[in-house]
């Protein structure tokens, strides 16, 4: 058995049942894979393979095709749903309320335990720009950390409080932390070996087919797939730039959702067993997705 095959099977099992399942049981799982698309991790969002980057790369580009927004124009998908983020839209939505709630919690907690803010800010007593480098490898904890994982860890370590990933409070605090980096380009440091390894694992998961419908993320979000064509009522868009607006207020759900919760919803729609937010497989997928948004500014609070 080649090394890649072993790796593939282990990863497939991780997606199916979390990292808890042993490799021995996993060896029986048969998996198919979507053909790979060419992605250069060094390019970030600019490396978009759908050819739509020019339509959503900045406010000026979005402004040019504003009449497509929310219309039935067949080109509307090329905006990659980035138009709700336009700053001058003057919008106010539940995402703003969630950020306010997150801020109130952080302020109250920091007044009680100043270590909480220092923990979130990784030594600094402020959160400006902190989230732009996530997900990152924490050498002290020997773990890949997402913003949500950092919130959970800091609440546990400093407040002795359980703010689990996927809970509404965790997502709101994460939304606040990310909103403090709004407008700053995402910079995931791929030079760190564990992050690069996670990127490769996440890339593998992106192409791995799962569930009753035998879908991979790539089945709908790569060139030559359904991307750009109708899938029931929607048109699947490029995965590039998507991580920039999470956690986001989801109108169909009526809640603020983190990227991991969104992954879970995707897996449900693919009729696969979703994993818990914070699962190592989701962290790998988040690293992969966030690298696809490298260089693209964070837009939190947002609405989708």
């Amino acid at each position: 058995m080649t090394l890649t095959r072993t790796l593939r099977r282990t990863l497939a099992a991780a997606l199916l049942a979390g990292a808890g399942l042993g490799a021995a049981a996993a060896a029986e799982v048969y998996r198919e894979h979507h053909p790979r698309a060419a992605i250069d991790p060094a390019q970030g969002a600019a490396g978009d393979f759908s050819g739509t980057y020019g339509f959503w790369k900045d406010a000026a580009a979005l402004e040019r095709h504003r009449d497509w927004a929310g219309s039935t124009d067949p080109n509307a998908w090329k905006l990659n749903w980035k138009y709700p983020d336009l700053v001058d839209s003057g919008d106010v939505h539940a995402g703003h309320v969630a950020v306010d709630e997150g801020e109130r919690f952080v302020r109250r907690a920091a007044a009680r335990e100043p270590g909480f803010l220092a923990c979130l800010g990784e030594g600094r007593n402020e959160l400006k720009g902190v989230a732009a480098g996530y997900p990152k490898y924490d050498a002290k904890l020997k773990k890949l950390m997402t913003v949500e994982a950092r919130v959970e860890h800091c609440a546990k370590a400093e407040l002795w409080d359980d703010v689990r990933q996927g809970s509404p409070l965790n997502t709101k605090i994460a939304a606040y932390v990310k909103s403090q980096s709004a407008g700053l380009p995402i910079r995931v440091d791929l030079s760190a070996a564990p992050v690069m390894a996670a990127y490769r694992r996440g890339e593998q998961l992106f192409y791995t087919k799962v569930g009753q419908l035998n879908f991979a993320c790539a089945s709908c979000h790569t060139p030559g797939s359904i991307m750009g064509h109708k899938l029931r009522g929607e048109v699947p868009t490029t995965p590039f730039g998507d991580a920039a607006h999470f956690p986001t207020y989801r109108t169909p759900v009526g809640e603020v959702e983190s990227l991991h919760q969104r992954f879970g919803r995707c897996l449900n729609q693919m009729r696969a067993q979703p994993l818990k937010p914070g699962d190592p497989a989701y962290v790998d997928l988040e690293v992969f997705y966030t690298v696809l948004s490298n260089g693209y500014p964070i837009t939190v609070p947002s609405i989708r």
Partner: protein, 104 residues
């Protein structure tokens, strides 16, 4: 305790563009809890009122057809910067909430 509201105002000449995000569960009373098969009691906003400097500029009767976490946008003429805007609602359980903002 009712959840907070968020108000944003934008003044163009003497017309104020007002946007309000309310947080409310807006239960219709038609849904059943899938686990217990019991009807989830209706809980929705019935009365909405907006005042500028104490004078009512908007009064609305809402029902269960309005979505969860409603968004309300409206324009008011004859408003100047510094005016005090109050938006309040009352739901079918008698719960109330209101939020203030200064027009700018």
């Amino acid at each position: 305790m009712a959840e907070p509201m968020k108000i944003r105002t934008q003044l163009n000449g003497d017309v104020a563009d007002i946007r309000v995000a309310m947080m409310h569960i807006m239960e219709t009373g038609q849904r059943k809890d899938p686990r217990t098969a019991e009807v989830i009691p209706a809980h929705y906003i019935q009365q909405v009122q907006a005042t500028v400097n104490g004078k009512t500029v908007l009064s609305a009767q809402w029902g269960p057809a309005v979505s969860k976490n409603p968004f309300l946008g409206f324009r008011v003429r004859g408003v100047k910067a510094g005016d005090k805007l109050v938006v309040s609602w009352e739901d079918n359980k008698g719960e109330r909430n209101s939020a203030e903002a200064v027009v700018k």
